[in-house]
């Protein structure tokens, strides 16, 4: 169990992850951008995108996942999403399509925020009582 976090899972899981990852990300983006037409929206799309990155982290190990998306970048993306959402919400401006812009900001906050929480949990347990490496 402890080795799973550094090396990842078996080659079967890695191959399937490589195949399905694009589809999961695409579905998350679709849910986010089509939230004003069909069921969905920024929250659900953001959680799906966070799940895609969790998928990488569980299958390939944390080193590989953090190589693709650093925690500092996660914080910048989530913070930028929250800031743009706040500006758009309190100071409306006419030339922006709100039904696209607001779900995008919500997706950034929710997706990168939840993945950052998951990353933090993974990294915390490394320093905790059950140190295994």
């Amino acid at each position: 169990m402890g080795n799973n976090e550094t090396r990842g899972m078996t080659v079967i899981v890695k191959t399937i992850t490589r195949l399905t990852l694009g589809f999961i990300l695409l579905y998350g983006i679709y849910i986010t951008l089509n939230g004003h037409v069909s069921p969905g929206g920024g929250f659900a799309g953001g959680v799906i995108i966070a799940l895609a990155f969790m998928h990488i982290m569980l299958a390939f190990g944390k080193e590989e996942a953090l190589k693709r998306l650093r925690v500092s970048r996660l914080r910048i993306l989530a913070g930028a999403g929250a800031l743009i959402f706040l500006i758009l919400a309190v100071r409306p401006c006419g030339f922006i399509d709100y039904s696209v812009a607001l779900p995008l900001c919500e997706m950034a906050v929710v997706g990168f925020g939840i993945f950052a929480i998951f990353t933090a949990l993974v990294l915390i347990s490394k320093t905790g009582k059950y140190k295994e490496d």
Binding site: M1, G2, I31, G35, H36, V37, S38, P39, G40, G41, F43, A44, V47, I48, A50, L51, M54, L58, R70, V71, S72, R75, A78, G79, A82, F85, L86, A89, V90, D97, Y98, S99, L102, P103, C105, E106, V109, V110, G113, I114, A116, I117, F118, A120, L121, V122, L123, I124, S125, T127, Y130
Partner: protein, 178 residues
């Protein structure tokens, strides 16, 4: 309504199993079963937005809970302090029932139309909502401040957890923030 009743019975059974199970992993999986049942119930009640949301959030929380409980047998004891536990349960049940009474007594009486304000939403949302989905235009136009508050709560939670995680790593070199 039969499907709803079957789903409710299933969810109640799963919740009871989740509370009573000795093994933590079994409880986590039973909690997941409750969530899946709730998601199907939303779908049966014709709320696909909530169904998608519930399903996705359920998967995330299941992953995090399994991640938290898989590694170790966390000692958990419900024995002892039964007087405190029972009185706390009775106290919270009383508070819950009292607030439920206060809320439910203001419901409109049976037979009167319950669609008061929501009729206006349904009629006007498509006209000046800008979105062809009524749910989206309600969240993004009429209740934008509500959504802003929701974002604030979530962002605060993220910032708080990240701050706690950073504090835990302060002693090591090559810290968490890099």
């Amino acid at each position: 309504m039969t499907e709803i009743h079957v789903l409710l019975l299933f969810m109640i059974a799963a919740a009871v199993i989740a509370v009573e199970a000795k093994d933590l992993m079994s409880s986590v999986i039973s909690v997941g079963a409750v969530g899946i049942g709730l998601s199907i119930a939303f779908l049966v009640l014709k709320a696909p937005d909530l169904a998608i949301m519930q399903l996705v959030v359920e998967i995330v929380s299941l992953v995090i809970l399994i991640r938290a409980t898989a590694r170790s047998d966390i000692p958990f004891s419900a024995s002892g302090r039964w007087a405190f536990n029972t009185s706390a349960t009775i106290f919270f049940l009383a508070v819950f029932l009292a607030s439920a009474y206060l809320v439910l007594k203001d419901l409109p009486p049976f037979g009167s139309p319950i669609m008061g304000i929501s009729t206006a939403y349904i009629e006007e949302a498509l006209a000046h909502g800008g979105a062809s989905n009524v749910v989206a235009s309600v969240t993004l136009k009429y209740r934008l401040l509500d959504t802003l508050g929701e974002m604030t709560v979530l962002f605060t939670a993220v910032v708080g957890i990240l701050a706690l995680a950073r504090k835990g790593r302060q002693g090591k070199e090559g810290g968490y923030g890099k």
